[in-house]
């Protein structure tokens, strides 16, 4: 194994581009994406559905061929030598996989364990994902969370250096999500690198050391969750819900932004979201202004800024917006 294969970043993508053609319609899935994923981190690709996250990950996994661009995974490139040796070092959990319905959990793991000589034992992996009690249960009897943990278990069998998890918690209940998060944290503690795609901001915020926000096939922001939130210029939000026909007429965004501590304002119907540096300075001023203009307040909440706010700030859309792609 060369030095490049054991040192350097886990993933290096430069000028990655991938388009899909259906009839006369050309869809650009990845549009000149650049990315470096350091080793030993949980790296999140955050973006709405159709942003290009899965295509990017599948290119990294060697499942999809890019139209152009440079791809280096653990110091190696696909189709440049022994792909099998590279696959031995990767763990993959695809967005959607249905294993053999009539196979038990253990039988499924035995099948995948056969691909990885010297990998973890089936019992070891069952313990890692807390599925010991379901070892002899068939697929059909597993819950969504248990199926997803089994999918992660198949990815952990080969003691991978780099683990790809493509939206691993989509559709899961909160408890199942937290169980999977624990699996990811354990893997990272043991020195592994994780690439996680998600459109759940809380998941990205909880798990990721670094995050690339992806939209329309490009990385539009990159940093730690704290850095991304700090990039908003303020870390708090005041959400206002006021009487109809008041915002934009009796009080303008500029009026709100002129108040002390308010960095930015976003108006939407009867709601206003104010980005503020310090809640204790901004809040009295806001209430005073509304009272002076005779605007009735129907609701008020203060909260910390989230990655969702970062995404909205960058794109003007919410992460969960349908058709965001």
């Amino acid at each position: 194994m060369t030095a490049a294969a054991t040192a350097g970043p886990a993933i290096e993508l430069r000028g990655l581009r991938k388009t899909y053609t259906k009839g006369k319609k050309i869809t650009v899935a990845v549009d000149g994406l650049d990315l470096v994923v350091p080793r030993g981190q949980v790296f999140g690709l955050l973006g709405p559905n159709g942003a290009g996250k899965t295509t990017t990950v599948e290119i990294c996994e060697g499942l999809t061929e890019p139209d152009s661009g440079h791809v280096q995974i653990l110091g190696r490139q696909w189709h440049q030598g022994d792909d099998r040796a590279l696959r031995q070092r990767l763990g993959v959990c695809l967005q959607e996989t249905k294993f053999h319905e009539k196979a038990t959990v253990r039988e499924t793991l035995v099948l995948f364990a056969s691909f990885y000589p010297g990998g973890r034992s089936v019992d070891e992996v069952l313990a890692l994902v807390s599925l010991q009690e379901k070892a002899d249960a068939r697929q059909a009897s597993l819950s969504g969370g248990q199926r997803q943990r089994l999918a992660v278990a198949t990815a952990l069998l080969g003691r991978p250096e780099l683990l790809f998890l493509d939206e691993p918690t989509t559709g899961l209940d909160p408890q199942s999500r937290r169980q999977l998060w624990e699996v990811v944290r354990t893997f990272r503690r043991d020195g592994g690198t994780v690439v996680l795609t998600t459109h759940y901001m809380d998941e990205a915020q909880q798990l990721c050391d670094r995050i690339a926000v992806v939209d329309h096939g490009k990385v539009i922001a990159l940093g730690t969750p704290a850095e991304l939130i700090r990039s908003l210029g303020a870390e708090h939000f005041i959400d206002l819900d006021v009487e109809p026909d008041a915002l934009g007429t009796r009080v303008a965004a500029a009026d709100l932004e002129a108040l002390p501590g308010v960095q930015a304002t976003r108006l939407s119907g009867e709601q206003a979201a104010l980005t503020v540096a310090s809640v204790h300075r901004a809040l009295p001023a806001v209430l005073e202004l509304l009272a002076a203009r005779g605007i009735a307040l129907r609701g008020l909440a203060t909260r910390h800024a989230t990655l969702e706010d970062v995404f909205v700030h960058l794109t003007g859309r919410h992460l969960r917006d349908e058709g965001a792609a």
Binding site: E61, G62, L63, T64, R84, A85, R87, Q88, L90, V92, L94, E96, T97, K98, F99, H100, F112, S114, F115, Y116, T154, G158
Partner: protein, 343 residues
Amino acid sequence: MTPRIVRAVALVSLREFWRAPDAVFWTYGFPLLMAIVLGFAFQAQAPQPLPVAVIAGAHADALAAQLRQSPRLAVERLDAEAADRALARGRLALLVRATDDGPVLRNDPTRPDAELARLLAERALRPPADDSAAPLSVEAEDRPGSRYIDWLIPGLVGLNLLGAGMWGIGFNLVHLRTQRLLRRLVVTPMRPREFLLGFLIGRGILVVPEAAAITLFGVFVWGVPFRGSLLAFLLLVLAGGFAFMGLGCLLAARPRTIESIAGLTNLCQLPMWLLGGVFFSNERFTGVLRWAVEAMPLTHINRALRDVMLEPTGVAAVVLPAAGLVGFGALCLLVALRWFRWT
């Protein structure tokens, strides 16, 4: 019942179908294509003459000459042993032999065309205008090894091998593709050939008990003889199973939907069902049909299985057809591996 709901459900079902081009093709295009191809194949063809043999002996020439007066009969002269074998293998519809009491006809009335051949022969040998002639003797062929059931059972074994390969392999591979399990497997260090080989062994091992079940049923329930080598039979079952499993892999190499693999399988299987020599003999076909049936692996497996079950055939005699079947399966597998769509 709410008509609005029924209408909405009907519309969704219709759109689901209409927006799947492969489903539309296999539903509308394929039957039309079959109608065109079969229409051309059977268009303006005179009915095939029915094969009749006159057993060599006294008066055989005269009998043959009388029978040849019917343009619907193809008459040949055979010695008794060859004639019996030909009747057992479905190559003949009727045997005629001369006796001191007049001609005796022999057929298995359960076979397709057997009774038509008898009626045509009776008309040729005893014209309706000739009231003075004595009625002809007719013997039903019911000796084990010469009946229709004896001929049918090996064909059913062949048909079962065909189904196991085409549906058991092809259908299931595409099912795994639609489940995205193949995608998951291909990102592991497993080699594609390891997967396909394992898959074939897992499914292929079942063809032996399946073939044994049909054969034992035929032998013990219907009294079908088993005159050849058991080892030769096993060799043929494995080779035939491999050939059809290879074909199943080839058909499953690209399709992304169940509709597509079902259509492709029918496209391949239907002609073999009809012409592969399962339910009626294909030995008498000529011209393009002869070429077509010889190109079908089912023809060769059925022919060899009948050799082994109905005649004292040993391993040496089946090595060549078995090798041909294995070669066909291997070629299909190689092409399938090259074309195989994992994603």
